[in-house]
Amino acid sequence: MGDQVGRSRPRFDLPGRVRGLVSHVGDQPVGTAAHVALHRSTAPHARIGEVHVDEALAMPGVYAVVTGLDLYKQLGDRILTGPAFADQPGLAHEKVRYVGEPVAAVLAADLKTARAAADAVWVDYEELPPVYDLRDALDGDAYVHDELRPSSVFGDLKHLRGVRDTNVNYEYNLRHGDAAAARDAGAATVTGEFWAPPTHHVPIELPCTIAWVDAGRLEMLTTTQTPSYVRQTVSDLLDLPLSRVRITTKPLGGSFGAKMYDRLEPLAAALAWTTGRTVRLVASREESFLLTTRHGAGVTSSMTADADGNLVSAIADVRYDTGAYADVGPRITAKSGMVASGPYRIANASVRSRCVYTNKPSAGPFRGFGVPQVTWSHESLIDELAHRLGADPVEFRRRHLLREGDEAPMGTTMHSADFVGCLDAVANAIGWDQPIERGDGRVKRGRGVAVGVKAVLTPTIANAVLQMNQDASATLLISTVDMGQGSDTIMAQIAADVLCLDSARIHVVRADTDATPYDTITAGSRSTYHTGNAVRKVAEAMRTKLIGFAAQHFGADDVTLDADGLHHGDAHVTIPELIHGHFGARGATVTAEANYTTEWVPYDKETGRSEKATEHWFAGAVGVQLTVDTATGRVHLEHLAVAGDVGKAINPKLVEQQLSGAAIMGIGHALFDQLVLDQGQVINGTLLDYQLPSIKDLPDKLTPIIVESPHATGPFGAKGVGETGILGIAPAIANAVRDALGVRITTLPLTPESIVAALERSDPWTLEEK
């Protein structure tokens, strides 16, 4: 083995990203393309009447105006796509389901003309009763979709086909023991109504898709985390074999879930295919707010302890507002629902988790995949329960946290999930055991912690192809998309370590479905483990090949590989000599391939439990010390420590950056970041109004902590880390506010206004006491 894993080598693209030398999709020259602008719905829920396009068509420079009906006539129901439900049309053709939904596409010589022409389109609407929020959706009798349309991607949704008169497109239920009876028999119960609002990802790079037809093939260059998925979607949409669809990417300028599944790509493919033109779609910053959001989620929940302080019951009713289209909401609903009781030993647990349509922009994947919303609930509850019992919040959690080998309430066993290690690390970092200067008068100080648990997406598939070049450099073909997380760097480190090379000699080919093999998605923190394992295996296969060549070369089986090359006893041959000798050519290549696939056991239909719901777990913890100005309500973060169990850090610097980056994003969600909607209309969808953390909002001190509890089957024991850091940020901050002020706030974000309001409530408790 080499020495490449565990080193903080700089990511190879660092200078290019900082200096703007890395080119992105939007930088690509497109020649005489048709630039596309979209006419968007002004109604939240309406039947589409006539779409008036004549005025737009008459404008100089306009090539075509395509309506949803035009596409429907050519593609039929294939126009409806989506990862869980085939419910989202590239252009609306019968109904519009949210304000801002694309109704017509204008193709023009330049973007300015296209946008002006899109403004000249007008539409006759027959308004339908709108479903603005979860309450309308669950209690009312207006339905966003006439019937449910599960896609073919997930077999377990088949039974929902054709279900009518509901806005609930998916429901996950967990039944472990008798949680209601245990609650009633318990000694202390806390109950809460929690709300986490919708948010937007706001990656720096805007989504952009360029699509064209080349020799009867649909080709596309697009900002996507999911090239393999997009290839399948376009293949289905256009009824083409996969071999006639090519999806390519460039490095993404951030994404966080904003650029996956069906964003601009199905529409771009349909427009390029039906018009024969090269089309370029780019979302403006304002439009990008409409493309996808994090799910707003309501959680009604309780946690109960018996007289000895044992956790005996956890109950949660979780509602994810998935907006007009399901996207991957049903998956989020199940994956997050199953951990809604938290990373604790709890004898009885009951969870009902629902995915609910409303007339709002569609919600989809977002760093954390729905788990931060349930973590907001369970980490507030257990904190409050500790206070009620007079217990120390760290001690109380430590007592109940799941350990190695424990079975979680949802039925899967814990391995490589060191919750206790993470909690102890952050508590120690913020000086939990040290006396705290509380502050007198206006400014109060407090500390809080939170623990998070999340399952990795399972089952998934990863493939890798490796070409060893004759000069002992290598070319790695994978479909993982580097969007700033540094995947290209760590994949090179993994392959290099196995082959005893310098990782800088390994080039990772960016995803191109004509060349790079299938990979489920670059998301859900899955790549380090899954693609990393495929890369480890392909490098091992390459090592075996090289050793085989060397055995022929030496005429002996006993061959070893190290940084100097291949050895048999005292005999030695370098890799360049070996490959040159084997093929008789300079520049020759040796190719190996490998696959890594994970399996799961589907949830039991009755109990929602599974002995293997996930390949592995993410464990993280957050500790915060903060002050609150009671006059303004403003929170100031003095120290935030964030720990994640990554199994083994392939590149410690990149792990720390993921933990810190996730923490900063989480600080926004905790304190001010939210998408505000009024009657279905986004009212802060510009960077003038939308709030993101700036350098001034960072804690005085931010401490990322790597915890390493090796995973038995991870590459070098490693697991991913992209989401671990964000899970507990909001509850840790709220718990520290509770510690400072004695008030418990259950609605995010914790704006100064909400903190002042909580201070002024006559009854400061929103969590009910038994």
Binding site: L688, P752, E753, V756
Partner: protein
């Protein structure tokens, strides 16, 4: 699409402004570019002052400083009297301050801007030039209504004269946001305080920047705070929005005024 004009003199600029249909002055462009991008600015002509000579001058005399409209906000951090310098220093971020202009900042007329609060307190005078000549508008009469100023059609801001600040007075500029720290202010206050009077310029808490005074002769610091808060109370008229409801904004305005008065008090006594 709007047409850009680049006059070579102030006379040419005001002629263009009065002669063209639906024309607008283009200063640093930091506000205009945002409004254009958002599709809510519909000017047909922009009269760019960047190439007009003499508009970037700062002239100091024993009464104060006279500043050209194209002087950058950044330069005002050192060129303006201390209270105004503090307010200019709090505008947006260095990149914006290097581009945005003193004249544009005033003409924009937004109720949340930082510099007007200090200019109100210091009793600055806006020079407004049109084809008919130049007139002086006291800045205390300049902000007339929500996003409206006393500038007439065909007029542009050709300078601002800021009187010297009483060196024995205490002063402080205080700015509070309610969401991200770097966001627009939710309440801001520029305060100048001598032995007899506290002068207060308020931003973001009414449809226009507002100026009020209170008599503090013979009062202690708490008395001055109480007098200041009593004086601002009647003019508080905040616009509820995503940054807070009217009640919270009133509260934050009071806290902001209190903090600014207390710091100005300390500054006067120890400055």
């Amino acid at each position: 699409m709007a047409q850009l004009h680049r006059p070579g003199s102030l006379d040419e600029a005001v002629e263009l402004l009065s002669g063209l249909d639906n024309a607008m002055v283009y200063g640093g462009g930091t506000a205009i570019q945002i409004l254009i991008k958002q599709g809510i600015l519909f000017a047909d002509h922009f009269v760019d002052l960047a190439t007009v000579p003499g508009l970037r001058e700062v002239t100091a005399d024993d009464r104060g400083v006279t500043v050209g409209p194209m002087v950058s906000i950044r330069r005002m951090e050192t060129a303006a009297p201390p209270l105004a310098a503090d307010a200019y220093r709090h505008v947006a971020n260095p990149r914006v301050r290097n581009t945005a202009s003193v004249g544009g900042n005033l003409a924009h007329g937004d109720y949340r801007l930082d510099p007007p609060t200090a200019l109100l307190v210091l009793d600055a005078v806006v020079l407004a030039t049109s084809a008919g000549g130049t007139r002086e508008i006291p800045v205390r009469e300049f902000f007339t209504d929500f996003q409206e100023t006393a500038l007439e059609p065909g007029e542009l801001v050709s300078g601002v004269r800021i009187p010297n600040q009483d060196a024995s007075a205490g002063y402080h500029f205080e700015k509070n946001s309610s969401l991200g720290e770097n966001d627009w202010p939710c309440a801001s206050a520029a305060v100048l305080l001598d032995d007899r009077t506290v002068h207060i310029g308020l931003g973001a808490v009414a449809p226009v920047p507002v100026y009020v005074t209170a008599d503090i002769a013979g009062l202690d610091d708490q008395g001055a705070v109480d007098a200041a808060i009593a004086a601002v109370e009647p003019v508080l008229d905040p616009i509820p929005d995503v940054r807070g409801g009217a009640e919270y904004k009133r509260r934050l305005a009071r806290v902001t005024v209190e903090d600014a008065v207390r710091r100005a008090w300390k500054d006067r006594d120890h400055g």
